[in-house]
């Protein structure tokens, strides 16, 4: 009897739990829920800006079913597309989008789930990408206006996205690279540029070297010239001094000086040096030197010029 009571109690609890389990559901913060009544949507819970937030909700078991949708920001990765920029340059553009479901009911009706989004949104993103990037130059895409261009793409995609009950939060260009073939050209150009740069640097070096050397040579020339100038001046001073000294000394008796200096000059000029016979002289016996050679009285020889 006890056993039967226990069994009944257990069964009761079990049934109660099963009913509770089937008739209650929890909506988490990061979820939104569409409740369907035999397949037709009845209400939406925890929609952005909606009136019902997360929490515990009830449903009629077996009649109402519940579909969950993510409330977080979701990702949508596009494959790389080859895009022609306005200046006919080609780029491989790899982009990604971030979106969020804003109207789960519409979303459910239009695309059903995330893979449905992929199907529907991808071509829209691709065409928008081509349209927007095709109207911009290569430089704008790579360098100058990337932010603005992606904003414009996001705006355009958003127009279509609204019809699917979603909002595109952001479209970003992950990669914008050159196609392989163009890449080779860029490598060629880079190499050429570097080679030119290297050559310029070396030429600069040689030029600088030449300049330094030339400047040094100039300095040397100047130093030597100045030294020579100074030297000549010094020598000139010496000569002037010498002249002054001589003039002062010899000026006392020019006549005697002439004689005396001549004597010295003869001696130095005709000096035999070490070897006798270096100088050979033809002498006339009637010269002053031989005044007493023939005549001890000093008479001048006939025809000889009397010397002073």
């Amino acid at each position: 009897m006890f056993k039967a009571l226990t069994a009944a109690l257990v069964a009761l609890v079990g049934v109660a739990a099963a009913i509770a389990y089937l008739s209650m559901f929890i909506v988490h913060v990061n979820e939104q829920v569409v409740v369907l009544n035999f397949g037709s949507p009845k209400r939406v819970i925890n929609q952005p800006n909606g009136k019902d937030g997360p929490g515990l909700y009830f449903r009629i078991p077996l009649v109402e079913t519940v579909d969950y949708f993510d409330k977080r920001i979701l990702d949508l990765d596009s494959p790389p597309y080859e895009v022609n920029a306005l200046d006919q340059k080609r780029l491989m553009v790899d982009s990604f989008a971030r979106y969020r479901i804003t109207d789960p009911l519409l979303f459910y009706q239009a695309v059903r789930n995330e893979s449905g989004v992929r199907e529907r949104l991808k071509p829209i993103i691709e065409s928008s990408l081509r349209r927007v990037l095709g109207s911009a130059t290569f430089q704008d895409i790579v360098r100058d206006k990337r932010e603005a261009l992606t904003k414009r793409i996001a705006q355009q995609v958003n127009v279509d996205g609204k019809e699917f009950g979603l909002e595109v939060v952001d479209v970003r260009i992950k990669r914008a690279d050159l196609p392989d073939q163009n890449q080779k050209n860029v490598f060629e150009r880079m190499r050429a540029e570097r080679q030119r740069e290297a050559a310029e640097i070396r030429a600069d070096g040689t030029g600088a070297s030449n300049r330094i050397k030339a400047d040094a040579d100039r300095q040397v020339t100047i130093i030597k010239a100045e030294a020579t100038r100074e030297a000549e001046r010094t020598r000139g001073d010496g000569d002037a001094e010498r002249n002054r000294i001589f003039a002062e000394a010899f000026g006392r008796d020019p006549d005697f000086f002439a004689f005396y200096r001549s004597m010295q000059a003869y001696e130095v000029g005709m000096k035999a040096g070490d070897r006798v016979g270096e100088t050979r002289m033809l002498l006339s016996p009637d010269s002053e030197f031989f005044k007493y050679f023939n005549n001890p009285n000093g008479g001048v020889l006939p025809g000889g010029q009397p010397k002073r």
């Binding site: 226990t6 079990g14 739990a17 929890i26 988490h28 913060v29 990061n30 979820e31 519940v66 969950y68 949708f69 993510d70 977080r72 920001i73 979701l74 990702d75 789930n113 790579v142 360098r143 952001d170 970003r172 992950k174 990669r175 050159l178 490598f187 880079m190 190499r191 570097r194 740069e197 600069d204 070297s209 330094i212 050397k213 040094a216 300095q219 040397v220 130093i223 030597k224 030294a227 030297a231 020598r235 010496g238 010498r242 000294i245 002062e248 000394a249 005697f256 000086f257 005396y260 010295q264 000096k271 006798v276 016979g277 050979r280 033809l282 002498l283 006339s284 030197f289 025809g303 000889g304």
Partner: protein, 365 residues
């Protein structure tokens, strides 16, 4: 099944993961299910009803009590580890956030706990794979080749370190945090590289680029409300592509050559200028020497002259004669002499064989 049909759950583990799929730490907090609840009620019933057998019945009771306690522990407590933070939700609504330690909870499904790795620093490598343990990283060309603003291509490998800034936002606002950070990082780096020139990227511009990327990433992630803080962006590698790296190296070699040329020239300049200064000193000293010598010579000569002159003044004629004769004596003394009478020799001089005389003289010696 409503409880299990979680659309975003069950993603790759780590601190991320889908919130309610499987908690990062395996989720022992969600253990008790209906069966266990039933068991427990049975236990209670048995406790109320005194069992027939003595000791074995008591043992079973004890075992059941222990089991019940264990279940209660898992149902009513949870542990937040030191690197985690506990986010508790009641019926799906955020209820409270708790620090590391042992905490009370209501059993599932009333309360659920999420334990994101709050203090862990996550690392994402882009453009290369650091082969841990195997030594030496590897390029991932699709990620690492980037276009610069001056239409060059540069190889960039970088590391992003990020951390959860706001656990709730992190859990509730984005679906794939890891992937999001990675994609945002790539996009930001390319944007920054696209705005720089290759020269600055491979030399001093790295730091600026790192800062720009970090700032941009943070802006985007904050815009997503991701609750993620980018702590650091480090460019491990920023160099010309291997296809052209030799040309870039040659530029560096050229810089070195330039320096070398200049140094050589400077050395040469230093040498010859110093030598020239030496030469100049030599020239000046020689001139000084000449000057002094000349003056000294002049002084000497004039002194000698004046001495002789003083003598001469006393007896001019005699002195003059004496000087003349003495000089002639010395001059003629050393010379070879041929004395010809003016009249007799007039015809002879032209024919005098001077050369032979000379030779004879030498032969005689």
């Amino acid at each position: 099944m409503p409880w299990n049909n979680q659309s975003g759950g069950g993603r790759r583990g780590g601190g991320g993961g889908g919130p309610w799929g499987q908690g990062p730490s395996g989720g022992p907090h969600q253990q008790p299910d209906l069966e266990e609840l039933l068991k427990r009620s049975q236990d209670r019933l048995k406790q109320v009803i005194p069992g027939g057998a003595g000791p074995p019945g008591f043992l079973i009771l004890l075992l059941m009590l222990g089991g019940g306690l264990l279940v209660a522990y898992f149902a009513f407590f949870f542990i937040v580890r030191v690197d985690e933070v506990g986010v508790v939700m009641r019926f799906g609504k955020f209820d409270r956030q708790v620090e590391p330690g042992l905490h009370l909870r209501l059993p599932y499904p009333i309360e659920e706990v999420q334990l994101p790795k709050f203090t862990r620093q996550n690392i994402i490598e882009i453009g290369f794979e650091s082969a841990r343990g195997r030594g030496g990283g590897r390029d991932v060309p699709a990620e690492s080749l980037m276009l610069t603003g001056d239409e060059n291509i540069v190889v960039v490998g970088f590391v992003v370190r990020w951390r959860i800034k706001d656990a709730q936002k992190y859990l509730f606002n984005i679906q794939k945090p890891d992937e999001t950070v990675r994609e945002v990082a790539e996009s930001a780096m390319r944007e920054a590289v696209g705005q720089s020139n290759i020269k600055s990227l491979i030399t001093e511009g790295r730091l600026k680029t790192e800062e720009a990327v970090q700032k941009l990433m943070q802006e985007v992630l904050d815009y997503y409300g991701a609750g993620i803080a980018i702590e650091q962006v480090t460019m491990q590698k920023s160099e010309p592509p291997p296809q052209v790296i030799d040309a870039f190296r040659d530029v560096q070699a050229a810089e070195a050559d330039k320096e070398k040329y200049q140094n050589e020239a400077s050395a040469y300049a230093g040498k010859i200028v110093r030598e020239a200064r030496g030469d100049a000193d030599r020239i000046l000293l020689a001139a000084k020497g000449y000057q002094q010598q000349t003056v000294a010579d002049a002084v000497g000569q004039s002194a000698r002259f004046l001495k002789v002159y003083d003598e001469y003044k006393k007896a001019p004629d005699v002195t003059r004669k004496r000087l003349y004769l003495e000089t002639m004596e010395r001059v003629l003394g050393g010379a070879e002499k041929i004395i010809l009478d003016g009249k007799a020799g007039q015809g002879v001089i032209p024919f005098l064989p001077l050369d032979q005389l000379q030779k004879r003289k030498e032969g005689g010696n």
